[in-house]
Every structure is written in C-alpha cells, then in structure tokens.
Amino acid sequence: MKILVAVKRVIDYNVQIRVKEDGSGVHTDNVKMSTNPPDDNAVEESVKLKESGKVKEVVAISIGEDKAQETIRKALAVGADKGIHVKADNYIEPLGIAKILKKIVEKEKPDMVFLGKQAIDDDCNQTGQMLAAMLNWPQATFTSKVNLKEKSVEIVREIDEGLETIEVNLPAVVSCDLRLNEPRFASLPNIMKAKKKPMEQINAKDLGVDLTNRIQQIKVEEPPKRKAGIKVANVAELVSKLKNEAKVL
C-alpha cells in the first residue's frame, strides 16, 4: 500500500500572533515556522504503518512557497520516502488545495491520504473532507486510532460526545487528531539522509485547476482585549468577590 501524507508550513504554535496595524493580516516576517501540529501526527502514523510492513511507500506533499520544502524535508527525515512540492506563492483556500491534492492523488494513486484535521493558521478544517468528496472516497476525520486492514481501515474518531468507531473502505482520506500518536524527532543522521531523498517539484499553475479564491478577506483585527482583573489575597476574598461583586455564585 501507499500513503500520500499532506503537510502544511504554518506559524509555530508557540509564537504569539501579532496582527498587522493596517488590518491586512498577521505578521509573518522573521516569525518561527514549523509543521502544522496534527500534520506531524499524520506523518508519524504513515511512517508507523510503513514500519509495520503494511505500507510500502510514504509520499509527503506540501503546497506553498519554496520554504515549504523544509516541511517536506522534515517528513522525509522521520521516514517518508519521497517528497512532492507544489509551488504556489499566494494563499490558496482549502477548496483550491483539495483540487491540487486531487490531481496529485490521480497521479500517485495512493491507497490512503493522511493529513492533519485542521491547520492552526486559518483554522478551516476543510481540506481532507473536500478532497474525499472530490475523489468520491470515504473519510475519517478527527482520527485517534488507526487499524489498517486489507481493503478497509477501522478508525476511532474523537467526537464531541466521546469516541466513535467507523470502518471505511479503501481508498480513503484520514484526517488526524493530536492524540493519534507521539510524533518522533528526526535524528541528525536521518536529517542528513533526508537531503538525498527525491523531491519532485510541480508548479501549481501547471496543474490546470481553478485556484481562484472565493473568499475575500476584508480585514483582520485583534480580538477585544479583556480588561485587567485583580489578584485576591485568599480564598475567602475570592468567594466573597464571586458572590457579591461578580454575582456568579
């Protein structure tokens, strides 16, 4: 079997986001970037399935500017076999990203596409489901456990009420949650080896898909700030404030 795993380069989750004064977006210059966290889980699970012998090949793909190659190299360093960089310099909405991935799926013919459940920049949570719909494949979102069988995959998903178990036929799209596994760190020798692994480059414009964004970003602003609160001296004061001042008890 073969897995295509999609990774996105985003602002590192530990970075405090700063909104630009002109309302055009957030500051990204000289900001630390890394792999979207649940995409790391998607890579880890793909590599684990390869190590188990059930999967033969793991191909990592990223769509974006040249620096997206760093994100692909990171996936290669933890065990992916090959990289595909689809070059695109502008922001593409999940709908366009799904169209690009569909083209790559048609070419690479994977049995499964793994990706993170959501990117922590635009927080859309759409790409996996859209790709599945375009391919007319089943999907498993918010995946926290994967049991790969011969022609299907049994998935435990995290839902609001608890956990849900489903079985979807292959080929399928699997979007990964953070509790799926513990992503490993790449060792230095593997980082060196990853530099020699193949990386295919494709220009998004050459794929013949409509990438026009349909959503116009009018402005980006800081959320309203909470006014500074007070420190109380002890528990008795806290309870008294909650009861008499905030009136929530």
């Binding site: 949570n125 996996g128 489901q129 089943p138 609001d160 009420e161 608890g162 178990t165 009018i218 609160g229």
Partner: protein
Amino acid sequence: MSVLLIAEHDNSKLKPFTLNAITAASKIDSDVHVLVAGANCENVTKEVASVPLVKKVLWCDSPNYQNYLPENLAPLVTKTAEKYDHIVASANTFGKNFMPRVAAALDISQVSDIIKVSSPDTFIRPIYAGNAFATVKSNDKKKCVTIRPTSFDPAEKTGGSAQVEKIEAVDVPNSSKFIKREETKSERPELGTARIVVSGGRGLESGENFKLITDIADKLNAAVGASRAAVDAGYISNDHQVGQTGKVVVPDLYIAVGISGAIQHLAGMKESKIIVAINKDGEAPIFSVADYGLEADLFKALPEFLAELNKLNTIQK
C-alpha cells in the same frame, strides 16, 4: 433567499447546539428551513417545528442517515441545497465532518466557524486559535457556512408550528460503516453548555488529584474541564479538553486551576464572562485574562474553596 440548516440530533432528541445555529441562520435570512435527516426521527421534526424561528422542516427518514455518516449525509444535503442560497450547520464535530463535502460537491469555498453575521455574505471568524478575528466576504453564489454555537444564543424552543415536509432519501455510496459510539456518561452538565466550568491543568500532578476539581464541580453543579497538558499527561480523558484542540466554552464562570494559560488553552475559554485563576506561579499567563486571580498552592486552596462554598447556601442547581 432561504437558509437551509442541518439539524444535529440523536434520532430521538434535538442536540442543543442546533438552537444556537438556528439563531445564527436567522441573522442571515429570516426564512430558515431545517433539514432533519435520520432514522425514525419524527420526534426531532416535532421539536424543530415548534421553534418559532423555523419556517419549514424538511424530514428525510432512512436507516442510511441513522449515524450521520458524511458519505451518506452529504449527497442528501447537496441535493436539498439546490433551492437555497445558504447552507448552514454547527461548527462542531457534526458539522465539521460533512459540510466541507457539501461545499466541495457544490464547488463552494466554505466559511468555517463564524462568530458573527455582518451581512448575508460577510462574516467574522476567528483565525490563529482566536488570536485574530477575520472579517470575510464570500463571493460564491451559494454559501456554505458553519457556526460556532457558543457565539450565538439558543433560539426559543416553543411557540412555533412550522410545516413539516417529507423528502426522499438519495443513493448512498456504501463506502463507510458505523461500528459504535462510546459516549462519555456524566452526571454533570455538558462542558459546551454548562453555566460554570471548573478546569484543572498539569498543576494537579495526577489523575487522582482531579478529585479536588470534581468535588468543587459537583458543589457548583459545574462541568469539568482540563488543559491539553492535563489530557496529554493522562490525568483525564480528552473529551474534557478546553482549548484550540478541544472545546470552546463560554460559561458565566470559568475557574482555571493549576493551568498556566498556554495560547492554545486561552483560545478555548477567554470569552467566558468571569474567569478565575488559581495558580502558584504569579507570573503565569492565565492571570492576564483572569478577572480574579489567586496566587496560591492549589492543594491548599481547593479544600478551602470547597469549605467556603459549603458555607454558602445560594448555589444554583
């Protein structure tokens, strides 16, 4: 210019967040129609029909929709959407699962997780885990929108009498199978809708110590929350997680205990009306969003807190 809203339910009862989504839908257009797709779900259609903001209920009953498998549900929604300008659902694990499939089938760029309707085509949605708010305008002819339920008040439940129209099921691909659902049973209120939430973090140091949190929660009739750190450390199950990767809660009172206040946790609770932080590290970022901060050792403070609460007799059940 009607809005089609997809109801979330368990085939016998409507899930409460659908009421919040109805309010949001009515801000897009007053002609709100609700699709109830399920198996033997007539009771749900009655519940929806009695919501005054709902103008019409579309009822599709088939075993194929019993477990809301997105492969089955999305084609029905896509077909039903023909007559509508907006297709709307809650941005929870229900709506997030199927709505992008509908959007892709209709070649629409979905607007996810909105917190405000500015006009029928312009919405405000949080990005970067709520660290920025984006105002976005959809230029698609039809719009697929998911709604953050806690940002809208629930609609009135009774007084309406909308017409219920039965609609035909559509073919399903038979590519997915539901096996089981393990719902976390709790005597306490649901995290997403509770009036008070008491959350614990890594400061609790163990799963056993979470009893200090649950004792307070039981006294206050509150839901129990947790930070991602506490969940990752195995102190408590993930369905208690509050934050960017867990649930977003907006209670009247949020009590954060032993939680430092990582960006990802703040994203899930900072819209709460009153925030209390109890932490022994006076520099912890949680204090920057807290209305009342208590710099104290939680192992000393929580038993005292419980004792003080026991002295009050005004706790609302």
